[in-house]
């Protein structure tokens, strides 16, 4: 038992991973509740069930590193340490939101934390992430850029353009494909010429084929660490395919009925990253009180942040005309 705890990851990191995943889960559950209360409107894409991936990277990355994610990016943003009220407030369109209510659920951004934006056009951010990676190389600084995207994204040209460029210039970047088996409503296998949509394409860009259980936080953490170190040490890009599953539909409006019941049940009951990790922590002899202590701490943080967001004013109407140009304004003046 002792040995298990003192492996390459260790107790402290495991508790960090636990706390991180739990935060992502509980905030997104709260976001869902707020939808039902009609406090969050519009569309939104939850990553419930996929927390181990963003969570593991959140723990493995350093301050200053850059991350890029998709419209399904609440978890990835929180994982970098952005405030819960910043995220929930943005979803509610309040002044306290990360971007003062100007970006919304699909565009969460927090530059101070290295969150270089959430992108709602499939594929675009893979190429943009290459840019921050290029800048790090250009300036001889040591940041790593990480870019998260879905399985469906592997079929757009930008995926291929980005991998090729990352490789020819050996950029310090990690591409993370979260293969949740579905695009919007169609299984990725229906429309893809290879079995592993990302990993089977890696060899075309002289990259290693890396497939990992994206719902196993320990394995995800190890994979993240290796790829980040490789990039930081100047040995170039990696492409990781993490197998996972989303618990809810593609977006708010989607009940996800196109997926077989047994499949959903299997992933929810047997492969839930959080349920399984809790079990693992107990097997590793971590005190249950410590585990529940973290649970109630996060729960409380989420409630407090929810209150702050609910009480935050809506954006000042003057905000409509700010930040079009770099001088902060709407009309460009010389």
């Amino acid at each position: 038992m002792e040995d298990k705890l003192n492996d390459d990851i260790g107790e402290a990191k495991r508790l960090q991973l636990w706390e991180m995943m739990l935060k992502l889960r509980l905030v997104e559950k709260k976001a869902y509740d707020l939808f039902l209360q009609n406090l969050i409107k519009g569309t939104s894409h939850l990553a419930l069930g996929q927390e181990a991936i963003a969570g593991a990277f959140g723990v493995a990355l350093q301050e200053g590193d850059y991350t890029f994610c998709t419209y399904r990016g609440h978890a990835h943003t929180l994982a970098r340490g952005s405030s819960i009220e910043g995220v929930l407030g943005e979803l509610m369109g309040r002044q306290c939101g990360l971007m003062k209510g100007k970006g919304g659920s699909m565009h969460l951004t927090d530059v101070e934390k290295g969150v270089m934006g959430s992108y709602a056009i499939i594929g675009a951010h893979l190429t943009i992430a290459n840019g921050t990676a290029l800048a790090s190389k250009y300036n001889k600084t040591k940041e790593v850029s990480v870019c998260f995207f879905g399985d469906g994204t592997t079929n757009i040209g930008a995926f291929h353009e980005a991998l090729n460029m990352a490789k020819i210039w050996d950029l310090p970047i990690v591409f993370v494909c979260e293969n949740n088996l579905y695009m919007e409503y169609t299984a990725i296998s229906e429309v893809t010429a290879v079995e592993h949509p990302a990993a089977d394409r890696a060899s075309a860009y002289s990259l290693d084929k890396i497939i990992v259980d994206g719902n196993d936080a320990d394995e995800m953490y190890r994979t993240a660490q290796t790829a980040i170190k490789k990039a930081r040490d100047g040995h170039g890009p990696s492409l990781i395919e993490a197998k996972t599953y989303r618990h809810s539909g593609h977006s708010r409006a989607d009940p996800g009925k196109y997926r077989p019941d047994e499949e959903v049940k299997d992933w929810m009951e047997n492969k839930d990253p959080i349920k399984n990790y809790r079990q693992k922590l107990l097997e590793f002899n971590i005190d249950e009180k410590t585990i529940t202590g973290i649970e109630s701490k996060i729960q409380q943080q989420v409630e407090e942040a929810t209150n702050i967001s609910k009480n935050s004013p809506i954006p000042d109407i003057k905000e409509i005309y700010t930040d079009v140009w770099a001088d902060g304004g709407y009309k460009w003046h010389n």
Partner: protein, 456 residues
């Protein structure tokens, strides 16, 4: 009809006449091969521009280093003097255009350079040490100077490094700055545009060259959705200081996919500055300002202007502010507004306008966005009449918006409808005569001026 040595490639300045395939006295049909010409890239065939008889051969076969536009033969064409009457509608209730297009845009060639010399530009107070150079050289100087001044400036695009640029604008920069700062990219417009935007987000100042702006459509998502909107969407957190540049507009005889103007497209987008110089001097000053500007700038050059010369200051602190138009000719009777290539078209029409006793204000906008509204309205309030000339399609065009702005800001001052002379709303045709018809020409501009002036 004179047969001139044509520019068979964008960079060709001279050619060798390898072989004549016709002799004096031969009857030829339009499209018949007359000669083989060797360029810096390949051997190409010169076709007869018209049906006729080879009157005289002026340059012997085997001649080398003949300059582009040298007369190499004379073709006698039956009824040459009689010009075909073609009616082309222009915007508004269309006056009838008596004949096709200017048969030679070089005809009344009024050089931009001389006009610039004449007028004292109040913005440029300093006494610069100037040299007459081409727009291609001016752009190259601007990039080089800014790369020396600011180590965060770098250049990327297809063929920009080893090959010196498809249009030679980036000549010599790889040698001077090395491959870290002058990057040859794969043919991945979406990919390298995204990369440039990401680099800008983390503080570098990329100059992203499109071989031509036709290919920027591959990257339009990145320009519109990433570069232009990130600052706003991020609540002011993410800045994208970047210049997208390359040749825009109608080139010569390259057909519909390689010949079009994107000014109206880009100026539609909040968050993008749009600049389109008409001459070498402005090109240098504006490109330098664009590189220093903290916003995304779409910098639209014109392939057919690359070789045009004007006097350009050599100092590296010579800047032309973005958003300042240039009153290149001062008159009193009508305001004619153009930008990029259409400025040259207006100048070509100037003699026939002056012949009517009409003295125009001619405004070169230089920047489309932001627009120098003050200068425009001041001129319109003086002349009370406006003609706008743009190469791009007239439908929902920038010129349409400009005429809206003028009518809403100068309504009480207008003595006539505003007339817009735009490119015809057709994909650019290939044949020489059709291509000329598709673009604004001297007669259309003159007719428009006449119409707003109620002159016959």
């Amino acid at each position: 009809m004179k047969i001139l040595l044509p520019a068979l490639s964008p960079t060709m300045e001279t050619g060798n006449l390898v072989k004549w395939l016709v002799k004096e006295g031969d009857d030829v049909l339009s499209g018949d091969i007359l000669a083989e010409i060797e360029t810096d890239k390949a051997t190409m065939e010169l076709e007869s521009p018209d049906d006729g008889k080879i009157e005289k051969i002026l340059v012997k076969e085997g001649s080398e280093n003949i300059s582009v536009n040298t007369e190499i033969a004379l073709l006698s064409v039956e009824g040459e003097e009689i010009e075909e009457k073609i009616e082309i509608p222009i915007e508004s209730s269309p006056p009838v255009i008596p004949n096709g297009a200017d048969t030679n845009t070089k005809a009344n060639n009024i050089s931009m350079g001389s006009l610039l010399k004449e007028q004292s530009n109040s913005l440029e107070t300093k006494n610069w040490s100037e040299k007459e150079i081409t727009m291609r050289e001016a752009l190259n100087q601007a990039i080089e100077e800014e790369m020396i001044i600011d180590k965060d400036v770098f250049l990327l695009g297809e063929e920009v490094a080893e090959y010196d640029g498809a249009y030679k604008v980036t000549q010599g920069l790889l040698d001077k700055f090395g491959s870290k700062r002058v990057l040859d990219t794969p043919i991945s417009e979406h990919g390298f545009t995204g990369l440039a935007i990401g680099a800008a987000m983390s503080g570098l100042k990329p100059i992203c060259e499109f071989m031509t702006f036709n290919f920027s459509m591959q990257a339009i998502d990145q320009i519109v959705n990433s570069a232009a909107k990130s600052l706003y969407m991020s609540g002011g957190e993410i800045n994208v200081p970047i210049v997208f540049r390359g040749p825009n507009g109608a080139a010569a005889r390259v057909g519909a996919q390689h010949s079009q103007c994107f000014i109206s497209w880009f100026s539609h987008i909040p968050g993008l500055l749009v600049v389109a110089p008409s001459n070498a001097r402005d090109a240098k000053g504006l490109l330098k300002s664009s590189i220093r500007n903290p916003n995304p700038v779409v910098f639209l050059e014109h392939e057919l202007l690359y070789k045009e010369k004007s006097n350009v200051p050599e100092e590296n602190d010579f800047l032309i502010p973005i958003g300042k138009a240039n009153l290149i000719k001062e008159g009193s009777d009508v305001t004619i507004i153009g930008f990029s290539m259409s400025v040259q078209r207006i100048l070509n029409a100037l003699p026939s306008i002056e012949k009517l006793g009409i003295k125009p204000d001619i405004i070169d906008l230089r920047s489309i966005k932001p627009l120098d509204e003050d200068l425009i309205y001041k001129s319109v309030k003086k002349t009370n009449r406006v003609v706008i000339v743009e190469d791009g399609w007239g439908n929902t065009s920038f010129g349409s918006h400009l005429s809206y702005l003028i009518q809403s800001n100068c309504f009480d001052y207008l003595d006539s409808e505003i007339i817009k002379v735009s490119g015809k709303d057709v994909p650019m045709p290939y044949a020489e005569n059709l291509e000329k018809l598709a673009l604004p020409n001297t007669d259309e501009i003159t007719s428009a001026v006449k119409k707003v002036s109620y002159t016959n």
